[in-house]
């Protein structure tokens, strides 16, 4: 028992518990502060018990006491003493031998937010479930009493027919007259085989119960009247939500599959199908998709195949929900899966997908454009012009890439405009896109660019990119243009001109232009090293395909 001079250390220990409670509520389990808090609290409690013996706390509404000494008091209603008191805890004792695991369990119990995390539990249930060997509690269960007089009334009712009024003698005589021997249900000893069977039973019992419940819910649906369908579908949806919350995608899939195939031959088959559509609508809802997003983001292993399969059960209504989570996901892996989902779903409703282009977050817009590109549907082009002027360069770049891949013939003005973008990367991407489109007008744009006066002053890479893009057109006109470029001369800016010619040589190599061999041979002796090198490489490519 703690004596009067031990009050202070006990008070300090209460403070340790309070601080620990606060920390455990703030920090996630994997945070080092979380485990350190537990270890520190354990060390303090262990020291206390070692030095002072068992700690026995008594609880009043606003006070914690040791014996008749108050060691904690507070006025606020939500005080530490009241936390225990309100659920009926009146005494709590910590005994020598307390383990770190027990302290962890105790601190986790007191830091549990019962209102938010589980309405079904209270501190007593948590302590009870903890089943601690060195932490004991005494509970006043009077508030559990439903009806204070029930026990007395029930007892009186049960005894209304007292045995004293029964003629035991008559029973005795009757029984003596009966010939029958004692009736026995033979108790059979439990054998090893029984125990083995029982162990298997217990192992089986660990299996997920959800599949059976879902079977039951659909049985219930089938066995119900039309008026009850709505209620049962609500239950099915609740089960669905439970699956999503727990990341049980296989089970969610099971529900969708069962909902897809209602029993044939029923009188109101049509109505059944109609009602069950709500399951699919629910599966597409922001709430459910949001839960899936959380699971994807949590880093826990999620069955990727099941996720894909799940998405295949959804329809275009799910697009807005997936766009929403696309902006919220934190991990690359999760975004990747959601993008894959949107590639599938967006195809069903390009317009719904395009709404994502109005999102405030640049990365959402970029991803939507990327999804358009993956879908490869030219209908997407009409939405891209707006995004082409997006303030974020990464978005603009994605638009240009997409225009290139989707061969956006009607978007030449966008690409042409992009060639004047102050960002080199944008200009380069635009050139590449023009090359991919391979139309006469895109060729014209590139040729005009190469022929423009400022082109000579462009950085070598940009020049090279333009010539490389032009190599996509393997036609006489292009060859002629390139040969002309190769032969270009200039008195001024000779080095720039040599770069220009080197790029032309490179491009001629790419188109394997044999008529370029002669001028290229001559350039093998050029003074400019770059020009020499590119001429040499072009010859090798034309001659030997290297």
């Amino acid at each position: 028992m703690v004596s009067a001079e031990d009050i202070k250390p006990a008070q300090e220990l209460i403070q340790v518990f309070q601080r620990a409670r606060k920390n455990l509520r703030i920090y996630p389990v994997n945070n080092p502060v979380y485990s350190k808090t537990i270890e520190d609290a354990f060390a303090r409690a262990d020291d206390f018990l070692e030095e002072h013996g068992d700690l026995e706390l008594k609880f009043r509404q606003n006070e914690i006491m040791i014996g008749d000494k108050t060691i904690y008091s507070a006025d606020r209603e939500d005080n530490f003493a009241f936390f225990f008191f309100r659920d009926g805890v009146r005494e709590l004792s910590f005994r020598r031998g307390l383990t770190l695991d027990e302290m962890k369990g105790f601190l986790q119990a007191i830091s549990f937010d019962f209102e938010r995390q589980s309405e079904d539990d209270d501190i007593v249930t948590m302590l009870w479930e903890g089943d601690f060997e060195h932490i004991k509690y005494v509970v006043d269960g009077s508030f559990l009493l439903e009806d204070e007089v029930y026990e007395n009334q029930a007892t009186a009712r049960a005894k209304t027919e007292p045995a004293s009024e029964v003629d035991l003698k008559r029973i005795y005589d009757d029984v003596l007259m009966e010939e029958a021997a004692a009736r026995q249900t033979q108790v059979i000893q439990v054998t090893k085989a029984d125990l083995l069977a029982l162990q298997k039973e217990m192992e089986r019992d660990q299996q997920d119960k959800l599949p059976r419940l879902i079977e039951i819910l659909f049985e219930l649906f089938r066995g119900s009247s039309a008026q009850e369908y709505g209620g049962i579908v609500n239950l099915i949806n609740e089960a669905f939500e439970y699956c999503a919350r727990n990341g049980n995608l296989r089970m969610a899939l099971g529900i969708l599959e069962a909902a897809k195939n209602p029993p044939g031959g029923a009188e109101d088959e049509g109505l059944m199908k109609e009602e069950l559509k709500r399951v699919f609508e629910f599966a597409c809802s922001p709430g459910i998709v949001g839960m899936l997003g959380e699971r994807l983001d949590s880093g826990e292993i999620l069955d990727a195949d099941a996720f894909d399969e799940y998405v295949r059960h959804l329809d275009k209504k799910a697009v807005p929900s997936f766009i929403t989570i696309l902006g919220e996901l934190k991990t690359m892996e999760a975004r990747k899966q959601v993008i894959n989902a949107l590639v599938f779903l967006g195809e069903k409703d390009i317009h719904a997908l395009a709404k994502g282009l109005s999102d405030d977050r640049w990365y959402v817009v970029r991803n939507i454009i990327y999804i358009f590109r993956r879908i490869g549907d030219k209908r997407a082009l009409e939405f891209l012009s707006r995004a082409a002027h997006h303030q974020d360069v990464r978005v603009r770049m994605e638009v240009l890439k997409t225009l290139g891949e989707l061969e956006g013939h009607g978007m030449m003005s966008v690409l042409k405009e992009a060639l004047d973008d102050p960002e080199t990367s944008i200009r380069l991407t635009a050139v590449r896109a023009l090359g991919r489109i391979k139309s006469n007008s895109s060729k014209r744009i590139i040729m005009d660019r190469i022929s423009s006066k400022p082109f000579l002053d462009f950085e070598f890479n940009e020049k090279k990119e333009c010539f490389e893009a032009l190599a996509n057109w393997n036609d006489p006109g292009t060859e002629e243009f390139l040969l002309k470029a190769l032969r270009s001369t200039s008195f001024f800016k000779r080095a720039r001109m040599d770069e220009f010619r080197a790029c032309a040589a490179y491009s001629l190599g790419l188109v394997r232009c044999r008529s370029a061999l002669e001028p290229l041979e001559k350039l093998k002796g050029a003074k400019n090293g770059l020009l020499r090198e590119y001429a040499y490489k072009a010859i090798k490519r034309i001659e030997y395909g290297q």
């Binding site: 009926g88 031998g97 383990t99 695991d101 079904d120 539990d121 249930t125 009870w128 089943d131 269960g141 559990l144 009493l145 439903e146 009806d147 029930y150 026990e151 029930a154 007892t155 009712r157 049960a158 005894k159 209304t160 027919e161 007292p162 045995a163 004293s164 029964v166 035991l168 003698k169 029973i171 005795y172 009757d174 029984v175 003596l176 029958a180 004692a182 009736r183 026995q184 249900t185 108790v187 059979i188 439990v190 029984d194 125990l195 029982l198 039973e201 217990m202 119960k209 959800l210 059976r212 419940l213 039951i216 819910l217 049985e219 219930l220 089938r222 066995g223 049962i232 609740e238 439970y242």
Partner: protein, 464 residues
């Protein structure tokens, strides 16, 4: 000894090992190598714990082992060893073994020798005590009679029982009026029941014989919960699982709340429509459970049990299922507890209840099709050949009521004697039929089981 293991596990291992060495010693000489290595393991466990705890006493209270006053919990894998050791202790009227100082293997071997040879003695415990008196560190104690504080325990248990009934009544009434149910409270009620069962099983099981015709549904729900948890305990379920089972079984009939009172309390026989309504209660139960509780593992389990508890393993029963699925373990446990309590209760559609032993006999007949045979076997082992509440005539011509089972000797339960050998009423007196007299024979044995319902004996008189 690794203290992180936890005393609970160490205690369990010690009792388990004691069972092992007892069994091995019954086959081999206690000095045999097989016995010796098992003994060494046992000694190391005992001495290790003694370093922390001081003297160690392994004791039987009711049907369970306690080590230094704390109940030793076991799981399914230890069930057979615990059960066999319990029988061996009880056979010898041995109540406790105490280790007071660091024990040597030779001393444990000497104890085993005395233990094995005592089974053939006319007075096994006295024989065992005499042969172990010379041991320095090991002493034995006789099986304790029903404790003197039984009245206080009975009062506390009665309080727990009626509180649960009253709570169930409140829940069912609130469901009828559409009010919200506090699952927090439900859990607390069940936790108390589980604790009571773990510590005072016999007393709480005794309360299930109290039947209240007017409040049948509420009593029945609680009785089924108690019987289910008791069976779960025999199956080696842990505390958390027992709580889940208790909660699930308490709500197994929750679907009946939507059946109109006129049908539930109909004085005459049920017509087809009434039965149709009754047969829908498992379906209603599922809906009600999810209305009163969010989807989580326990509500899922409760819904499954509410739905399945009238479906038989062979697929018969109701509601009719389109395909035969394996019934959940909880559903099969609840089905047994449900049938037993229903058969032994007076209900509107079966006014005259069956006697407990007749009910059990009928259940055995049904076990192939309607009930799980394995679980029923454990259930019969739990309630015994003469379940609590059975009226019996003894071979002494005394009449008595079974008030407590005796696991090791099913035919020798504890009986409250209510008449003398001439049929005259006497003040109730408890007799343990497993106890032998000075000459080593049983002074009382059961001659006949009698249907108390035929005579209107109110069992409440003896249990409240």
């Amino acid at each position: 000894m690794d203290s992180s293991q936890g005393k609970g596990r160490i205690s369990r291992d010690i009792v388990n090992q004691l069972s092992v060495i007892v069994r091995t010693a019954q086959i081999h000489d206690p000095r045999n190598v097989a016995v010796a290595s098992a003994v060494e393991k046992f000694v190391s466990g005992v001495n290790g714990l003694m370093l922390e705890e001081g003297p160690i006493e392994i004791e039987i209270v009711g049907e369970y082992f306690y080590l230094n006053g704390e109940r030793v919990k076991f799981t399914t894998e230890h069930l057979l060893n615990f059960d066999s050791l319990l029988r061996e202790f009880k056979r010898r009227r041995l109540g406790s073994v105490k280790f007071v100082c660091e024990t040597k293997p030779e001393e444990v071997q000497a104890f085993l020798g005395a233990f094995v040879s005592s089974q053939y003695a006319a007075e096994p415990f006295e024989d065992l005590r005499a042969n172990t008196e010379r041991l320095k560190c090991i002493s034995v104690g006789a099986l304790r009679r029903i404790s003197e504080g039984a009245e206080d325990i009975r009062k506390a248990v009665k309080h727990t029982y009626f509180n649960a009934v009253s709570f169930t009544r409140g829940v069912m009434n609130r469901i009828k009026t559409g009010e919200r149910i506090s699952m927090k409270k439900a859990k607390r009620v069940v936790e108390t029941m589980v604790d009571t069962l773990l510590e005072k099983e016999e007393f709480l099981l005794g309360m299930t014989v109290i039947k209240d015709y007017d409040e049948y549904t509420f009593h029945h729900s609680v009785n089924v919960s108690i019987l289910s948890v008791a069976l779960g305990q025999r199956l080696g379920m842990d505390k958390i699982k027992l709580m889940e089972l208790g909660l699930v079984s308490l709500f197994h009939d929750i679907g009946k709340t939507v059946i109109p009172n006129e049908v539930l309390n109909k004085p005459g026989a049920f017509d087809e429509e009434d039965w149709k309504l009754m047969a829908r209660h498992p379906l209603s139960g599922v809906k009600i459970i999810f209305n009163m509780k969010n989807f989580d593992s326990s509500s899922i389990r409760a819904a499954i049990t509410a739905y399945e508890h009238h479906i038989h393993p062979d697929g018969s029963g109701y509601p009719a299922a389109r395909k035969l699925s394996e019934l959940d373990l909880f559903s099969r446990i609840v089905a047994i507890a449900d049938q037993y309590d229903a058969m032994t209760s007076s209900r509107v559609y079966a006014r005259v209840p069956m006697s407990p032993d007749s009910a059990l006999a009928l259940m055995v007949k049904r076990s192939a099709t309607q009930l799980d045979p394995l679980l029923l076997k454990f259930f019969i082992n739990l309630v015994g050949t003469y379940p609590v509440g059975t009226l019996v005539m003894l071979d002494t011509r005394e009449l008595g009521i079974v008030t407590g089972a005796n696991t090791s000797e099913h035919l020798r339960p504890r009986v409250t004697i209510i008449t003398d050998a001439d049929g005259n009423r006497i003040s109730p007196m408890v007799a343990d039929l497993a106890e032998k007299d000075g000459s080593g024979s049983y002074p009382r044995s059961i001659a006949k089981a009698v249907d108390h319902n035929r005579y209107g004996i109110n069992l409440a008189e003896y249990f409240l």
